[in-house]
């Protein structure tokens, strides 16, 4: 009998997402769990109760029934205090928790004596955990939506056009912070035709920015590793670095139509990167979309959750529910993240979760376990790769490469010359002692070696086994030698020759037949 997994309707104002979709339901049932959902939980994301019923999910009338009747409760937003008070003893809760910012909530949850509380925001940033990294999947949606909101508030095209009614310049977009959200925003803005520039304090992401089609704004700074990373996220930068950075942005401000800021440092208020002065410098009609609004905003003028218009007609969008604004999509991705977590929790697929604290990923997510607060987890290094100093391969420049290749060619050329000279000398030496009859055969031999050399190099690699089989058959040409000897009156010679003919025949027939069998098998699709 599998445990019951329940999904209540989200209670936070404006939250449209739901932790379970009909598609993820099917997958979770395969893990052995029984599912139940509060009536109307999926309405805002366009999943009706009926669709859930069809997927085999039991629909319960109210939240209380879900909280009291489920062994595992899955949510999107962190539980309210009222919800936390409903957590059943011995049950588990999976949702966003933000334990560092919500100590009270964690304490309340702990007092309810749950089996385990798993925070989707605490998934370690390691490759293996990517499939359950809800922050990334939500950030991706937020980045996309940020561009949609920007376009909605921007009175012009993104793409440049030359029309009969005149030329339209493309919009210029600046994306600050090239994490998951930033890169998604770059991609979306690029595909709408805008010119995109991007900045990040981690110089190593320049390649990713460029791969998305944006221009990386390079900051000329001695210790350009001003930010660097910590657990895969950016960390605070030095004051000198910050000054340089603001200088760079100020230079950009008059030129830019749209700014999308995504800079977050975990566990701290968002850094202020787009000052009031920069907003003032922007053209009327420009748009700032601040994805860091929840943590105080990267833009000085951001009002959390609001869209405001400044005196100089710049729109500053501070919505904090970007992902929720695309509820069907975000529910689907978040649901899949949850499903992957359940997958990891249920290796036996028997509907019994196993909160294995040895597993780095599960350990990282778990904030309360058996009445104990287990946050923060011991540090995990993102790169488990060998730490030993692997000598960095020095990338050679085009000229160096050309020079090296020329040198190699020259070397190969002089080696060939050497071989030819030595070979010719040997042949001459042989010619002085060997009789003419031998030299005649020898010419044939040498030429055949060359022919063989050129012919065999052209053989396809995939046909090397048939090549061996056929050369094997062909080498039985030795039968000719035996045939020439078999007429000898000497009985020993005759018998040995006859045996040789026998063996060579086995080889001829066997070799050719087997080659044919093999070649017949090679088929085109």
């Amino acid at each position: 009998m599998g445990m019951k997994v329940g999904v209540p309707k989200e209670t936070a104002a404006g939250e449209r997402r739901v932790a379970l979709t009909p598609e993820t339901a099917g997958r979770i049932q395969k893990l052995g769990y029984d599912l139940q959902i509060e009536s109307g939980a999926g309405d805002a994301a366009n999943f009706s109760d009926d669709v859930y019923r069809e997927a085999g999910v039991e629909v319960l009338p109210d939240a209380a029934a879900i909280w009291s009747g489920s062994d595992i409760v899955m949510k999107v937003q962190q539980p309210s205090m009222a919800e936390a008070a409903m957590v059943k003893e011995g049950s588990s809760l999976i949702s966003f928790i933000w334990p560092a910012q919500n100590e009270d909530l964690v304490a309340t949850l702990k007092d309810r004596k749950p089996h385990a509380v798993l925070a989707m925001d605490q998934v370690p940033r390691i490759s293996r955990a990517q499939k359950l990294d809800a922050l990334s999947s939500m950030a991706n949606i937020a980045g996309y939506r940020a561009v949609v909101e920007a376009a909605n508030n921007f009175g012009r095209f993104f793409t440049g056009q030359v029309t009969a009614a005149g030329k339209v310049p493309p919009a210029k977009v600046l994306v600050i912070g090239a994490g998951v959200a930033g890169l998604a925003a770059i991609g979306a803005a690029r595909s709408m035709g805008a010119i995109v520039r991007s900045f990040d304090i981690r110089p190593e992401v320049a390649e990713q920015i460029e791969s998305m089609g944006a221009e990386f704004l390079f900051l000329d700074f001695e210790d350009s590793d001003g930010g660097g990373t910590e657990g895969g996220y950016a960390k605070p930068s030095s004051p000198e670095f910050r000054a340089k950075q603001l200088e760079l942005f100020e230079a950009q401000a008059p030129d830019i139509d749209i700014v999308i800021t995504t800079a977050l440092i975990p566990g701290r208020p968002a850094p202020e990167l787009w000052t009031e002065k920069m907003v003032r410098a922007m053209k009327p009609g420009s748009v700032v979309v601040d994805l860091a609004a929840e943590q105080g905003g990267n833009c000085a003028l951001t009002v959390k959750g609001e869209r405001i218009v400044t005196d100089n007609d710049v729109v500053v969008v501070g919505y904090t529910d970007m992902a929720s604004r695309m509820a069907a999509q975000s529910s689907q991705l978040y649901g899949t993240n949850l499903r992957h977590l359940l997958d990891d929790l249920t290796p036996e697929k028997d509907g019994q979760p196993n909160v294995n604290m040895e597993d780095v990923v599960i350990r990282g997510c778990t904030v309360v376990k058996d009445g104990e607060i287990t946050f923060p987890p011991p540090p995990v290094s993102t790169s488990v790769a060998p730490k030993a100093v692997a000598p960095k391969k020095v990338e050679e420049t085009a000229e160096e490469k050309a020079a090296r290749e020329a040198a190699e060619l020259k070397k190969a050329g002089s080696r060939t010359t050497m071989l030819l000279v030595v070979g010719a000398a040997l042949l001459l030496a042989l010619g002085t002692v060997a009789p003419a009859s031998f030299m005649q055969h020898f010419i044939v031999f040498v030429l055949s070696c060359f022919v063989g050399f050129y012919v065999i190099w052209n053989v396809a690699h995939s046909l090397h086994t048939p090549l061996m089989a056929i050369t094997n058959a062909v080498s039985s040409i030795i039968i000719v030698g035996a045939l020439l000897q078999i007429s000898s009156p000497n009985t020993t010679v005759m018998v040995l020759a006859a045996l040789s003919v026998l063996m060579a025949s086995i080889n001829i027939f066997g070799g050719f037949l087997v080659t044919r069998r093999m070649l017949a098998m090679f088929q085109k699709s």
Partner: protein, 479 residues
Amino acid sequence: MSIGLTTAAYVVAAILFILALGGLSNQEKAKRAIWYGIIGMTLAVVATVASPGVTNQPVIIAMIVIGGALGWLVAKKVQMTQMPELVAGFHSLVGLAAVFIGINAHLEMERALAAVADGTTGELAGFAATIAKKSSVELGILKVELFLGILIGAITFTGSIIAYGKLAGKISSNALTLPGRHMLNLAAFAACFILGFLYLQGAGLWTMILVAIIAGLIGVHLIMAIGGADMPVVVSMLNSYSGWAAAAIGFTLGNDLLIVTGALVGASGAILSYIMCKGMNRSFASVILGGWGGDAGGPQQEVEGEMVPTNVDTVVQQLEDADSVIFVPGYGLAVAQAQGAVSELTKRLRDKGKEVRFAIHPVAGRLPGHMNVLLAEAKVPYDFVLEMEEINDDFPSTDFVMILGANDIVNPSAQDDPNSPIAGMPVLEVWKAKNVVISKRGQGRGYSGVENPLFFKDNSRMLYGDAKDSLDAILKQLS
């Protein structure tokens, strides 16, 4: 048939052989090319039998019929997985025939010389008649050729038998390392050459028989000292030797067709050995003399992390989610006989519209091109079975890579760790793919004995168990 006509037939046969080998440049041409080989061989045999001085036709026909029947039987019954041992076994026959023909040549030479002494050369026919006309220098050269033919032939004979035994699993495929084995080989070769010198000085048949025996022992010892995964080099080398033996006999008999064909085969085998050695980044000498190229100096990099196991359900899920899949087969696939299962899996995945391909490393398996033949047998179309150079750049854009019984050929330390014994060996860069699953029996190391850091990477998962059982289980679950 006149001598002129026979020679003409030989020329045609030689050209046909060249065309037969040249035709293997692509799969479709190859099906036609094999007929060139068959026709060439028929022509050569018929022309020889019909040439003046060849009698005893009933014996010839009987031997060809019996031999042909045996060859036909073997070729029909053999499994494609047994291909390596079959090829090795066939080589031994050519080697032994070369030894016999060499000994015969000596006997005929004695007879011819006796006839010259008696003044009855007119009664001689065939090979003996040609010998009778030779000068003493020519006879000296003949003796050298004869010696070489017997030496190479005997090494090929016993070496191939051992290779056959190892490939068929009848002899342990571990490398046998006797103390002072290089000295043993050297001494044996020296003995052979001393005997050859004595023979040139007029010593009798016994020297040649001794050479055959000692060379046979060299063959045994040489191949016994070579481990399983080096077999591709060994089999190609023996292939080459069987050609050189034929060419040497051709010189002895003054027969150009034998020389041409022997040289073709010899060159072919030599090139294959070279390609195999390059595939392992080792010198021919280090393979043949056994053992990995010694210490590269300095300690190898420590591998950190753990091998994370996965299960069939997860793999099925990953396969369902993936758009592009690459399979990397190795010798383990042949051992597990899993080619049918992987073919079926390929078909199903392709029916779902996924891109499925195979990546073949030059030294995967126990024979050059072994994996290609195995997959062809299982009806995997050859146009998505790709070589290392063709596919190596595609790994970063691949969602899912499954490694089936391969190890060293996907070892990243060949590129990352200059102190690794396999440093510099070209490898398939599978670790650049998004997900890698390694189907493997246990946690053991590959042939080279080198730890494989691939297994410890974040995107790698181990699927323990027999490759065929795993694939069958995946097939069952895949909708």
